[in-house]
Subunit: 324 residues, 2 copies
């Protein structure tokens, strides 16, 4: 189980490999939020999302013997690119299992980062069978996207940075909003803050209709989303919190915040206007929560994680065109 | 005259006030540039451009007695916002003289940052007369946009950061490309690098048709642009290099790079795709130079400054829609 010691160890391994992203702010966003607001732009991380941290943490934690065999991951999105680059920079091979109908650009990017991409047909093939068959003779190390304690520890390094950077600004008391899919990022950040900034309160942020974490926290057991698609927040519409992450979320998180797709688009456009960063819809869920659902928060300060920026041009233009 | 001692003093005054922007990179941009490329995103600076540094440096260098009287500046763009915020954070008043036909959003932003905006009619009024009349009884401190040694010193802090950050990546030898208007940013960066990274070579980058610095460096005297408008790179189409900055550019810079508006739009779109930052057209001139004019550069490394990100949504959409 991930704890603060594992997160600090991950921070040591990741030093000089992941980018230390700054804290950004704008008086114009403070006005909208009704409190001081800072944004942690993990969209500026290598491969455009926080996933590089978890991937680096997990790969660097393997024994030399294990690591040499290479790694395997399932993903059509940010985790694929994070694992591909972290593997390449470790000088090992990566196999990424992707659905054949994934966007061509994502497949191309993952290949360009050095990974071997194996495509499967979602309609006729089972993903795990494809991987098992492919992996029969190679015994690759599976890097799960969130249910891996080293991955959670890697994402937790963001929490260590937030605590240190906020303290430099004189802030130790804040609501911290985190876009939440499987819960790896949220739980990692929450563990780190519980240790280094215990007066901060972590709120998971989810899209309307995909509030599995909020419902799981309310019922006390893992709940799943009724649908697998139907939100533009593709990076955080994971079916359910993980077996590993759910107890961590239960222990360390407070009131979840639910945002609409339209609010995410508006947050993306405001981040363009005021902070000059590109955020993907799911990555903007926390900013949307801080800007448009401030009534559920307490205190004078809010810190939001922008988890990624991998959005295609069309979707970004929609945000710029259709929101005030 | 600005020198390295003044830049180091400016860095001391600015510490904790300006953001230390990171160095960003992407293997995809390395491929296009044909060498390793890093981008220094001053679009992430307070007010969305490097101008905040120079403004802070100049205002903080005033004596307490002088500073209390307040400051005045002429600008319809980035300098206006930089001076407005730096003044507000010093707790002093700022008067910004702006043409009445400046974009309403820029006037509103400058006011929202706490400045008193004085509008004048470009067709019927002389800017200096307006300022002189306005300033008769107040004796405000004029903060020029580039021909002020403390402003140049403030911009030079970017060079100190580049030298230190590149060294951490193991890079001491690089071509450094800088968007160049009046030359305050370029000369400041060049002085800093001459001291802290003497194997780096600074190339001013200008838009086609507004290559006053390139022509001035070629002729050995200050040349002016034939036109005052006609490029989308509004932030860097200053009429001529400054009296103060030109000798510095002569001493410290090498081969200028001229880019087209279309190349700047393409660079903006690639920075969106690969680095997740928003760059304004003029701010993208150096990135455009590195990506599309690599033949005039030497060595295996290039570092580009992205000087600002204050671009309206329409122009940004044009970049996303019309470039590959």
């Amino acid at each position: 189980m991930t704890d603060i010691t594992m997160i600090r160890a991950a921070a040591d391994r990741i030093k000089g490999k992941a980018r230390v992203t700054p804290l950004l702010s704008s008086p114009f966003l403070d006005d909208i939020a009704g409190r001081r607001l800072w944004l942690k732009p993990e969209c500026l991380q290598h491969t455009g999302s926080f996933k590089f941290r978890g991937a680096w943490s997990a790969i660097s934690a393997l024994s030399d013997t294990d690591r040499k065999r290479g790694v395997i991951a399932f993903s059509s999105g940010n985790h694929a690119q994070g694992v591909a680059l972290a593997a390449a920079r470790h000088g090992i091979s990566a196999v990424i299992i992707m659905p054949s109908d994934a966007p061509a650009i994502k497949i191309a990017n993952t290949r360009a980062l050095g990974a071997e991409v194996v495509l499967y047909d979602r309609a006729t093939e089972n993903r795990d069978d494809v991987a098992a068959k492919y992996n029969e003779s190679r015994n690759l190390n599976l890097i799960k996207p969130f249910d891996n304690p080293y991955v959670v520890a890697g994402q937790g390094t963001i929490g260590l940075e937030i605590a240190a950077q906020a303290a430099k600004e004189g802030v130790t008391d804040a609501a911290v909003l985190v876009p939440c899919g499987g819960g790896g990022l949220t739980s990692g950040v929450a563990i780190a803050l519980a240790a280094d900034a215990p007066d901060m309160r972590v709120h998971p942020c989810e899209p309307e209709g995909f509030d599995d974490v909020a419902r799981s926290l309310a019922s006390g057991k893992i709940e799943t989303n009724p649908a697998a698609t139907g939100s533009i927040c593709d990076s955080i519409i994971t079916a359910a919190p993980g077996e590993l992450t759910f107890p961590l979320l239960q222990r360390h998180c407070t009131a979840p915040v639910i945002v609409t797709d339209q609010e995410c688009l508006r947050a993306m456009a405001l981040a363009f206007d005021r902070l000059k960063v590109v955020i993907e819809p799911g990555g903007a869920a926390a900013l949307a929560g801080a800007l448009f659902h401030g009534d559920v928060l307490t205190g004078n300060n809010v810190i939001v994680v922008a988890s990624g920026g991998n959005v295609d041009r069309d979707m970004f233009q929609t945000a710029l065109e259709t929101t005030p």
